[in-house]
Amino acid sequence: MLSAIWAIPAAGGLLVLAAAGRWPAKRLALAVAVCVFALSLALPWAAGPEGLSSLAQAGPLWAYGIRYSVGLDGLSLVLVWLTAFLTVVSLLSAWKQELSAGFWASFLFLEAACLGVFLVRDLFFFYIFWEAVLVPMFFIIGLWGSENRRHAAMKFFLFTFFGSVFLLLGILALVTMHHSATGLWTWDMAVLRGPSSGRAAVVVFLALVVGFGVKIPLFPLHTWLPDAHTEAPAAGSIMLAGVLLKLGVYGLLRVALPAFPEVSWSLLPWLGLIAAINMIYGALCSMAQGDLKRLVAYSSVAHLGFCVMGILSRTPEGLAGGSLQLLNHGLSTGALFLLVGCLYERGHKRGLSDFGGLFAKAPWFTFFFGVAVFASIGLPGLNGFVGEFMSLAGMARVLPILAIAGVVGVTLAAGYALPAYQAVFWADPGPGSVSAKVTELDWREKSLMWTLTLLMLWIGLFPGTLLSLLDSSLRGLLL
């Protein structure tokens, strides 16, 4: 059952490619993505009363303790939902464009790889899925991106591969260390533990942090993100921000922190400092951007700082809030990229000064963009606040000074988001404005945004169900 969750989109991708020219690729891709989403929603029922862990499966043992195994807990489940949902959203966001079968298939391959990362419990296969994510994204940016796409795709690939190298070596070192300590070859995430102290432990842990940190992205490993976002097509940006950035934090939660609990605890001030830099520096950089996509990309840097800060605190509220913030960021930033994509599709511009006065002709556009903006700057009642507040509340109990830095980040968020919002929707259109070309959202875009809006409101006001799902699984993992 669990393997089917990633195998179906992979097979679907192949089918889309094979059937190119005979069947309409995008309808087929969407049908597959919807199936996967429906299946992911059914997972808790499939698990039944024994709980999510009863769905775990393992294959035969290979050499050196490698064994294909999949498992499910609250954290994986929430991220599987997010991935499956955002795949549907991003396919629909590109619906009106005439694109080859390869485009639609790439999204299914991307979905398969991401789902694989969230589901497998064996580090060997984890790494394979991890790397597999790069390939479809490389093509999405490089083939279907905007003007500067080749450079951005190359940068994305090399930069993230640079991180993967550290990740691979870190994983190999971790497995070897575990073998020399216990005499047991295993790649099982639940079993692997590194030494509790020593230089080697610190180095291996940091290698893992660099590996995951490029994806998150942590300062100063973040500069691939604005370029990749700017050049990627809107659907690609939704997946990039909504799902790919989550892989890094997931890796920290699932691999790096459980394997090195003591080392990571002793490095908390430094890692927390980096998270704080992410928040404040990301927000400041975001303020300086004149391009909507770059602005949202830097805001992602700031938002992911909250996630990292929450999970580093290792308190129940920090862990649950930080991981809920992964979902929140996926929804609100996904919505922002969706809407920026709609702007680009209509006006073929992304600059803040290229629009203006859209409120008059596109009130729904303005309304939904406002919802996404206020969710992302943490207006209580919408989803962003819950994650931010709980992350910082966790850190306030451990290292209050970092929590203060986080509150500065919260304050700065309004400083980049609202001027941009006003420039696009309220301000008078300047010379060369393409506002005249921008039309109101159609029913497809509106229904996507209504779905996202209701989800944001639901998580903002009643996050209890999701939080208890996350809390119960993270408790076993890290507390």
Partner: protein, 626 residues
């Protein structure tokens, strides 16, 4: 999940309706009425206002006559194991009394707005945002913990952003909205951090639980919390140094100014301080600081108000000044008089704003200037009467409502010492001066420099009747002092009770009345004895005028600070592009420049890069691990 005692089953229906009515009205208006009949959007909303006012009065009478109160958790909001933040409701004397004022004044302003905004193309949007704001304010007053208070506190700020920027086509309105929300956000920093600290220390932020603990124990971080809460209050309640957003926020339609900048939003900060008083009073130095900031704001804003010409701006600075009076009173430890003044101010300031709105509406302008009016008492007799009653009340003239509340604060000041006496008297003089100047120049005359509002007409009933009702409140509010003393003490969260309103004292009466008489006398001279003075001093003393126009130099300073943040952001953006990303982008070029060998390596093929990276990283890691 942890089970929490309490819940909706224990909630009496007036409290449920206070939330259910506005939520239902907003949903019905947004989804059903607005698409079908945009001009009827206000109908469900006005019905909701009536329900709210009835419930608020009912609750107030329960508190008054039965000493009734309520503090209920209503289920978890944010939960992680035993860590819990829950929703809740708290009804006590403080919230019930302020709620009654907010719901009555707010409801009547809704009625007024249905006339004032009738011609506006954004009628439906206006009422939705207006009522959302109202809902947020009700929630703020009824919150039982700091975190829920923060929820509604932010919603109030959000709704005010929509309303101040309502006429978004105007550049000034856009700027004012942005300035308001960013300044408030700066203040919210304090409340957010205070909530985090309280949560970390007490594992809870419920007023009823943490205040007794604070009063009985000693906690190191509580002092910091006190200062942070005051910082938050300076933004919402427009105190120095964060007051500057309020006068500019007059860019919103007049009903917005009347609702947000008289009766509700700006009182939220004072309400927060009154709510937190058990905590703040334990912090050394803080009450004195609060008193000084309040007095300074009150006097400085009062002086600036004397020089303004735009009717709404005079009232805006007057609001800043009167909020200063409340904060001053709080700082002197007088919670009851401060809250009492909050309530009476809500009535008389709403009347003044709505009258100013009627004048502007009569001139068919969004706002009016002293140059354009004069002698309106004949053309707008009803507005004149209402305005006069409210102005007398604001000036602190017996027996109008403002007298009783201001007198109580003055009484505390007279018992405090020389500086407080001077401050109290100066506040009395400036208040009377600017409001009587406004009264005389608007309704009497016209002086030779004024146009006299040639084609102005009296307000139509839908805009006159609500003003009349609020004026009644201004007339009668002073008689309720005794009942108010009973109410405010009800349900106070700590054992030590707060003092009631002070008894009448002839000496306080004499000081207050003479201060008001001096102010009114100066206004008389300005308006009647030397009627061109108000126009001539501006040309004679340009330096003084520019000092007053720039709020004694604070406005340029704020602009400078804003420019500083923008410059910092641009520097960060440049640094990121040139240095952080520059290093990344430069790496292949460096490899290329490393000679023949390097050039052969820099093939531009991904495969090669990948293998070199792998090898390099492996060597690096092994070297460090050894």
């Amino acid at each position: 999940m942890q089970r929490i005692p309490g819940g909706f089953a224990f909630l009496p229906w007036p409290v449920i309706l206070l939330f259910a009515a506005p939520v239902a009205a907003l949903l019905v208006s947004f989804f059903i009425v607005r698409p079908a009949r945009p001009r009827w959007t206000h109908v469900p909303i006005l019905a909701s206002c009536a329900v709210i006012a009835a419930c608020a009065i009912w609750i107030l009478s329960l508190v008054l006559f039965q000493n009734w109160g309520l503090d209920l958790p209503l289920g978890g909001w944010m939960v992680a194991g035993d860590w819990l933040v829950s929703y809740g409701v708290r009804v006590d004397g403080l919230s019930a009394s302020v709620l009654a004022m907010v719901s009555i004044v707010g409801g009547l302003i809704h009625v007024y707005a249905s006339g004032y905004m009738a011609e506006d193309p954004g009628f439906a949007r206006f009422f939705l945002a207006f009522h959302l704001f109202f809902l947020a304010m009700i929630g703020l007053l009824l919150s039982n913990s700091y975190i829920q208070l923060y929820l509604f506190w932010e919603l109030v700020g959000f709704a005010s952003y929509l309303l101040i920027g309502f006429w978004w086509q105007k550049k000034t309105a856009r700027r004012a909205a942005l300035q308001a929300i960013l300044t408030n956000r700066l203040g919210d920093f304090g409340l957010f951090l205070a909530a985090l600290i309280l949560l970390a220390v007490f594992h809870n932020t419920r007023f009823a639980l943490i205040f007794p603990a604070i009063v009985n124990g000693h906690y190191a971080l509580v002092s910091l919390v006190g200062f942070l809460l005051f910082w938050a209050a300076t933004a919402k309640s427009a105190q120095f140094p964060l007051y500057f957003w309020l006068p500019d926020a007059m860019e919103g339609p007049t009903p917005v100014s009347a609702l947000m900048h008289a009766a509700t939003m700006v009182t939220a900060g004072v309400f927060l301080l009154a709510r937190s008083w058990p905590l703040i009073s334990t912090v050394p130095v803080l009450p004195d600081l609060i008193a000084v900031v309040g007095a300074f704001t009150a006097i400085a804003a009062g002086i600036v108000a004397c020089a303004k010409k735009d009717l709404k701006r005079i009232l805006a600075y007057s609001t800043v000044s009167h909020l200063g009076i409340m904060v001053f009173g709080l700082g002197l430890g007088e919670v009851a008089p401060a809250v009492y003044h909050l309530i009476t101010h809500g009535f008389f300031k709403a009347v003044l704003f709505l009258c100013a709105g009627n004048i502007a509406h009569g001139l068919h302008q969004p706002t009016a200037d002293l140059d354009q009016v004069g002698g309106l008492r004949k053309k707008m007799p009803f507005t004149f009467v209402c305005f006069t009653v409210a102005a007398l009340s604001l000036g602190g003239i017996w027996p109008f409502a403002g007298y009783f509340s201001k007198d109580a604060i003055l009484d505390a000041a007279l018992h405090r010492g020389p500086w407080a006496i001077v401050a109290g008297v100066l506040i009395g003089v400036t208040s009377a001066l600017y409001i009587f100047r406004m009264l005389f120049l608007t309704f009497f005359g016209p002086s030779p420099r004024q146009k006299g509002g040639e084609h102005i007409h009296e307000a139509e009933p839908v805009m006159a009747v609500p003003v009349g009702f609020i004026t009644l409140g201004t007339l009668l509010g002073g008689l309720l002092g005794h009942s108010f003393s009973t109410v405010i003490k009800s349900g106070w969260p700590v054992a030590q009770p707060i003092a009631a309103l002070p008894e009448f004292s002839w000496s306080t009466f004499a000081v207050g009345m003479s201060a008001a008489a001096v102010g009114a006398g100066i206004a008389w001279v300005i308006a009647f004895v030397n009627p061109s003075f108000d126009w001539e001093w501006r040309t004679k003393y340009p330096a003084l005028e520019s000092a007053l126009n720039s709020d004694f130099g604070w406005k340029p300073f704020v602009r400078l600070a804003t420019a500083g943040v923008v410059a910092l952001a641009n520097a960060a953006g440049f640094f990121d592009h040139a240095v952080v990303d520059g290093a990344v982008e430069g790496a292949p070029r460096v490899a290329g420049a490393a000679g023949e060998q390097g050039r052969r390596l820099a093939t531009g093929r991904i495969n090669d890069y990948v293998w070199w990276m792998l090898a390099g990283a492996a060597v690096l890691l092994l070297a460090v691990m050894r």
